[in-house]
Amino acid sequence: MKKVFAREEYCLGCKLCEVYCVTSHSRSKDVVKAHKSEEITPAVIIESGENLSFALQCRHCDDAPCVRACITGAMQKDPETGIVKYDENKCVGCWTCIMTCPYGAVKRDEYNRNIISKCDLCSETGEPACAANCPNNALVYKEQEEEGE
């Protein structure tokens, strides 16, 4: 399946991926409104240290540990698209997914709601917003390499 991959050698650590993630998941789809009048937790995690940074999103694992561990069934793997889908209406905020995700790619809601934020590979425009707007092509939306490739 197609996923977003980070190329750390080109990551600027600018965090625009976060900005566009929030915008993409807003009602208004407007950068300014999304940030000023909506409460959206970006689903991308940016690790940055000295001279090294990269963005990290849900890897949409084939055999996702979060799906296996979720106590409410809020995390489900879509058999067709391969996307690990999250239903916030089912979630109670037990953070079992946070305990389980080996990538640390699940975030608690930043506005203290009992929900999480996680990449859904928003691809309405053909490419997830983070990859589409990365200024240096440090995030690429592409087919996953097969083992051994």
């Binding site: 600027l12 600018c14 965090k15 950068v31 300014v32 940030h35 001279n51 092509n137």
Partner: protein, 500 residues
Amino acid sequence: MSLSLKNPEFLIERNYDRCINCQVCERQCANDSHYYDEEMDKMLSKDENCVNCQRCVTLCPANALSIRQYPLEYRKNSNWTGEMINNIYKQAESGGVLLTGMGNPTPKKIYWDHILLNASQVTNPSIDPLREPMELKTFLGRKPGKLEFDENGNPFPLPPQLELDTPIMFSAMSFGSISINACRSLARAATASGIMYNTGEGGLHQDLYQYKENTIVQVASGRFGVHQEYLEAGAAIEIKIGQGAKPGIGGHLPGEKVGDEVSRTRMIPLGTDALSPAPHHDIYSIEDLRQLIYALKEATDYTKPVSVKISAVHNVAAIATGIATAGADIISIDGYRGGTGAAPTLIRDNVGIPIELALAAVDERLRREGLRDQVSLVIGGTIRNSADIVKAIALGADTVYIASAALIAMGCHMCQKCYTGKCNWGIATQQPDLVKRLNPEIGEERLKNLIRGWSLEIKEMLGGMGINAIESLRGNRLMLRGIDLNERELAVLGIKHAGE
């Protein structure tokens, strides 16, 4: 020191209705011009640090930023302009030489803009390059006066030639003055576009040896990174005597830019200043130059053309004649608006002559002396668009060098702060976090696009003139007319005035 009298050059304007405190501007500014104030929960600016590189403006997702000239109105004075005054403040505080980067920005006459091109009407048909073949192929190198054949009727081989798909090359920019990612972009784009790029005097990074067929290796007064393998790693060798932005003086790469890779490539100790002497200490005459030219030819078995690069100065025509007789296969001339990674401001802005005049004079002189076929002529120093190229070739150039335009294609915003090493666009820097900002895949793509776009335009202009090969335009000054030029200027350029 007491109170600094320097004023900010630029003013950062932030539209707080739009600013979303994302801090992208802060993270992207190597000059610390932006910061987030937690108490105020607001982004604030330090105008005095801003160099107007436009990085923040370009990356701001909310379009909340604009940068303006600082509205500092000294009392009107045509003599003592604000810039003059500020420069004096700077020097009164530093006691140093004023430094700058890129090309001469002063409002002196740009002759390209006073030259107009011809087009066919009625009597000779124009050519549509989309329907008919149009040849831009260009060969650089010594051309024989006549073809000679051996006893079997086979022609003797030609002297070595550089083959270009279009009459454009990337001129010398050293690894050190620009980042490895900028070098990679140039090398890959040159390879993909069938043209040449030039290493500058910084040696050749190991990663770039693979682009040999499209590389001109430079030998300059500092001889940095010059060795047998290096000479063989180019399709041609260029001896650098002078550079348009700073004729008569050497180069200075500050030690801070000499990191691991630069030090290995230049073969100098880590962290030491790389000083290129003003002259080549072994060249004091045309004969000396001839020695170096032949030493290099000898070293590479006469397989590569050797070029000599000079800046356009007052006696450029006579000097070029000397270079031609010294055995150079290519002469390249850099005009006074040519760029640089670092130069004293006053040298950049006051030394040398316009490339248009130099080119016309050199071409004319070489023809007169019967030497024109023995050398190819490459010119550079603010080629800003394809029309400049067409005019240059009609004035007598074989091809042009571009550098500023290439840098702009890669993202340069002409802030002229290359010498600080803090290029926010990842071009003129060795700082790893900044170098990363130029993804060579993107750099290559943008450069390729520029070359492609310009080549298409050149074909259009050629077609309009009824010419189907760039070869037929070369030195064809009848295709040019002057406008707003006086008799002397027209005479030097060797062109008629518009309407004549």
